[in-house]
């Protein structure tokens, strides 16, 4: 398991990866694992009206990580909203199934359903 951000030869980092680097158009050739890093909450919300197969309430945050001077962001579920504020430090925690793949409109086989929640440090 890893929480892979993608890096191009010019050092730009994105999560998820793209066919070409959105910043410079180069091919992304490396991955950077964010799983063991600590990130900072850019903003967060608690969603009380969620789609089929999603936990309710669903705490979500946009989190920023620093990778050798470049910043990279990821959206993910929070394990709890207790004590979370803009600027809080969080760390990724692996979760096998973030939502029920069978319940929503998207074809279950078309994407992955595991990933990382964010736990306040």
């Amino acid at each position: 398991m890893s929480f892979d951000a993608h890096r191009c030869p010019n050092g730009h980092v994105t999560y998820p990866g793209h066919t070409r680097c959105p910043e410079c158009g180069e091919e992304q050739t490396e991955t950077v694992d964010l799983a063991e890093r600590t990130g900072t909450v850019v903003t967060w919300t608690t969603s009380q009206a969620t789609p089929p197969g999603v936990r309710e309430p669903n705490h979500l945050a946009i989190v920023e990580f620093s990778v050798e001077g470049e910043s990279v962001r990821a959206l993910g579920q929070l394990t709890t909203a207790n004590g979370v504020e803009i600027g809080s430090e969080v760390e990724p925690v692996y979760e096998e199934e973030l939502r029920d793949p069978e319940a929503g409109i998207r074809e279950p086989d078309s994407q992955e359903w595991d990933g990382y929640r964010f736990e306040p440090v």
């Binding site: 969603s47 969620t50 803009i86 994407q111």
Partner: protein, 383 residues
């Protein structure tokens, strides 16, 4: 250059309708043709703005169905799906068809049938536009709005009440729109005490789920007077995209698609934000009205909330925003919304808006797909 004119327009009642998408499209399309006295077989091109008729009701191929129902057999047809901005993208396609000389008479009809689904199901259909890494976390458009709203209030020290005042204003405007889903005023206390949907946003910060359709009829300005005494022209139009993955944006409170699409539209029209007399913005969530009013250049970044507090965007203010009631009270049938924004500008510029009439000769509509993922900005003017 011969400009593109809009010589007819219509919209159906928005709300909880018994009609299905085919019938809604035909109702609006027929009314727009009647408005200009044009027959279906006069149409060269027919565009349908629709996000998800297949997902919502298992009906695909709607442009062909509509051509048959309107007696427009032989016309070139095309469906335009740009999620919530399908309507604006349809205006772009229709404008392009006439501006290029490919068509001398183009009908655009936008429509969506949604209310037979639960809110949860409809939210999921819309959320299916998101990237897999966001979709798997249960990200939704209301969720993105909550994330942006918290950041905005924090960054610009805006009071929570200011968001509520957008809802109060747009509900007040909707009272005088006979086509609106909600024709009922709400007070600030009701908005601020409504159930939390995506903290800090509450139920009244969100537009409803809606059935409805709207239509516009386009031709070259040089022949417009053969069909209509009064018409409007598309003086500027621009489209732009922002990131698909919403969290990859540098500033969650800036809608770069709005910035870039409006720059193109202003340049084409040889206008600036200061020239706009009235605007229809995509207030799918109250926070979006602040963000767009800033990113269109009406107000400085972080000051859009102040304008609402000061009444600048009220119907009797210096820059009325969403005289139609906006998506908030008029309703938001996805593919119809961008077309209905232009319908509102059309009736306002023609002086046919009744009790909600405001003064003005230049109107702007900003139609947003996803959470700024794709945007079309259109400027309509009196000839």
């Amino acid at each position: 250059m011969d400009r593109v004119a809009i010589i007819g327009a219509s919209m159906t009642a928005f709300g909880d309708r018994d009609a299905w998408v085919r019938e809604l499209l035909a109702e609006a399309g027929d009314a727009a043709l009647r408005d200009a006295g044009v027959d279906g077989d006069d149409l060269d091109h027919l565009y349908v703005s629709n996000m998800a008729s297949g997902e919502f009701e298992g009906q695909t191929g709607v442009p062909n169905a509509l051509a048959h129902d309107l007696g427009a057999l032989g016309a070139y047809t095309q469906r335009v799906d740009q999620t919530s901005a399908s309507g604006g993208a349809g205006i772009y396609a229709a404008w392009q068809s006439v501006a290029s000389g490919a068509s001398e008479m183009t009908l655009l009809v936008g429509g969506e049938k949604m209310t037979h689904k639960t809110t949860s199901e409809a939210t999921d259909v819309i959320a299916s536009l998101t990237h897999p890494v966001e979709y798997k976390h249960g990200a939704t458009l209301p969720g993105f709005a909550g994330l942006a709203a918290r950041k905005y209030l924090d960054e610009y020290d805006a009071p929570r009440e200011s968001l509520g005042k957008v809802a109060v204003k747009n509900h007040r405007n909707g009272v005088d729109n006979p086509h609106a889903q909600f024709r009922k005023e709400v007070d600030l206390e009701t908005v601020l005490n409504s159930p939390i949907i995506a903290d800090p946003l509450r139920l009244y910060d969100f537009c409803p789920i809606t059935d409805g359709s709207a239509a516009l009829l386009f031709c070259p300005e040089s022949v417009a007077e053969e069909y209509a005494d009064d018409y409007v022209v598309v003086s500027g139009i621009g489209g732009a995209t922002d990131t698909h993955v919403v969290h990859e944006r540098e500033d969650p409170t800036t809608m770069q698609g709005v910035v870039e699409s409006s720059e193109v539209a202003y340049e084409m029209a040889d206008r600036g934000p200061e020239d706009v007399d009235l605007a229809e913005l995509h207030d799918m969530f109250t926070i979006l009205e602040f963000l767009q009013s800033e990113d269109l250049g009406f107000f400085e970044k972080g000051e859009g909330w102040q304008a609402v507090e000061d009444g600048v965007t009220d119907r009797d203010g210096d820059l009325p925003i969403n005289t139609s009631g906006g998506l908030k009270s008029k309703g938001h049938p996805l593919g119809a919304s961008g077309v209905a924004q232009a319908y509102e500008l059309y009736v306002q510029l023609l002086g046919e808006a009744g009790d909600r009439q405001v003064e003005g000769s230049v109107g702007l509509a900003c139609n947003v797909g996803g959470f700024d993922n794709c945007v079309t900005t259109t400027i309509l003017e009196q000839p």
